[in-house]
Symmetry: C2
């Protein structure tokens, strides 16, 4: 279970402050398929950064599977994330000097629930995930040698490589044509039916309605929740 | 008039080559409003890079308003672009150490058809363009202090700041909610009616049909053109 309690986030910008989240309460059960929508700048990515521990709240609690993220050090958070969460960032964050294949293998190397997996099996597993998103033909391209949508699909394969129980995706199809986008969502739907928790931000009306639950954000607050 | 004649683009990747464009012929008249669509990886951004001189073709000619881009040096291309073309890149390319306002002022400083404009008028013109895309409230944020869609809107304001005759936009609304996206397209529509040439790539079916002309790309070739 993911639980945010009265989460606030204030960014300090020199003398002034900018309040991105004004008090977010959110509870997501294991296996839920949740879409988050809202205008540009409303706080969606900030909420995802709270759930994944990429950023810390200014106030409020974040409990994930009984673990209080506020009490973890940066190092503990990185370990926790490596095993528990697969993240598709809004701007991919691929490592520029690694090929598509190496970017997907990396989480398998660092740790992951499959730390006992050996070199050859890691390679096969990474290739399988690239194949799943139609990118095995570009396995040896560097990120700079890929189109926008191709980079996005490599980022999706990387997030899934470790078979994490929670998948968090920030506009995972923003750079994809509708056919490729639907293929990605088919993967998410299948993972959700296998019991994984899927949380995604989207601006696409059709994709938002594929989720079982729709959360609407505006000006740093949740204003509607179809739960 | 923009004219591509048998344009090919081959990217060399160490020992192997990757052919992104296989022979593109395209003619766009002044004032046209053109959408380019196609699957992820089909060559859309590469075509835009040819039209804007950001990248050079491996074969073929590119003539824009009687100027042969192949014959211009890098320096001449940069000057030509500064005056003739406003570009909204797929991943924005904002300068990370400049604020939103400074990013929009920059093209006015470097040159531009309004090189005679003085400091105070430049500032006002840049603010006016930020206001146009709903970003004047974030004028003093750095790109890292903006959401994805906010960065995109700053990139749009920057492309328009110099009042160029040609505007080239690569998925300009990919990170925007549909309402904000429609506001952006309303600006493009108005500029097209004033005689500016607007060329944009989009994966959004509805936005693609707002253009007067729809060009479909697949595997590095134009396969349909509604002209
Ligand atoms: N520097 C490069 N080296 C090798 N291949 C490249 C390079 N840049 C692009 N490519 C390849 O060229 C093809 C066309 O890329 P392009 O960026 O034009 O696609 P696109 O249609 O814009 O796709 P998207 O909708 O995903 O942004 C892609 O398959 C990509 O892998
Ligand atoms: N480091 C920062 N410093 C100051 N303000 C910030 C910072 N990061 C984000 N913001 C502000 O917080 C607000 C929320 O940002 P967030 O990235 O969560 O929006 P979003 O809903 O994901 O928008 P989009 O759909 O455009 O990606 C924005 O108005 C943004 O300007
Ligand atoms: Mg965002
Ligand atoms: Mg592209």
């Amino acid at each position: 279970t993911i639980e945010l309690q009265q989460v606030q986030k204030v960014y300090s910008m020199g003398r002034r402050n900018y309040q991105a989240l004004r008090g977010v309460d959110l509870r997501i059960e294991p296996g839920e398929f949740v879409a988050i929508v809202g205008p540009s700048g409303s706080g969606k990515s900030t909420i995802l950064n709270m759930i994944t521990g990429i950023d810390r709240p200014s106030k409020g609690q974040i409990m994930i599977a009984e673990v209080n993220l506020n009490l973890l050090s940066e190092n503990q958070l990185a370990h926790w994330r490596g095993a528990e969460v697969g993240i598709v960032f809004q701007f991919f964050q691929l490592l520029p000097t690694l090929t598509a294949l190496e970017n997907v293998i990396l989480p398998l190397h660092l740790r992951g629930r499959r730390a006992k997996v050996h070199g050859k099996e890691r390679l096969e597993r990474a290739l399988e995930h690239l194949r799943m998103v139609g990118m095995d033909s570009h396995a040896y391209h560097l990120p700079s040698e890929l189109s926008g949508g191709e980079q996005q699909r490599v980022a999706i394969a990387r997030a899934l490589a470790n078979d994490p129980p929670i998948i968090v995706a920030d506009e995972p199809t923003g750079n994809l044509d509708s056919q490729t986008g639907e293929m990605v969502f088919e993967i998410f739907r299948r993972l959700s039916s296998e019991g994984k928790t899927i949380i995604y931000v989207t601006h696409d009306h059709d994709l938002a309605h594929l989720a079982h639950r729709l959360i609407q954000v505006r000006d740093g607050l949740i204003i509607a929740d179809s739960n």
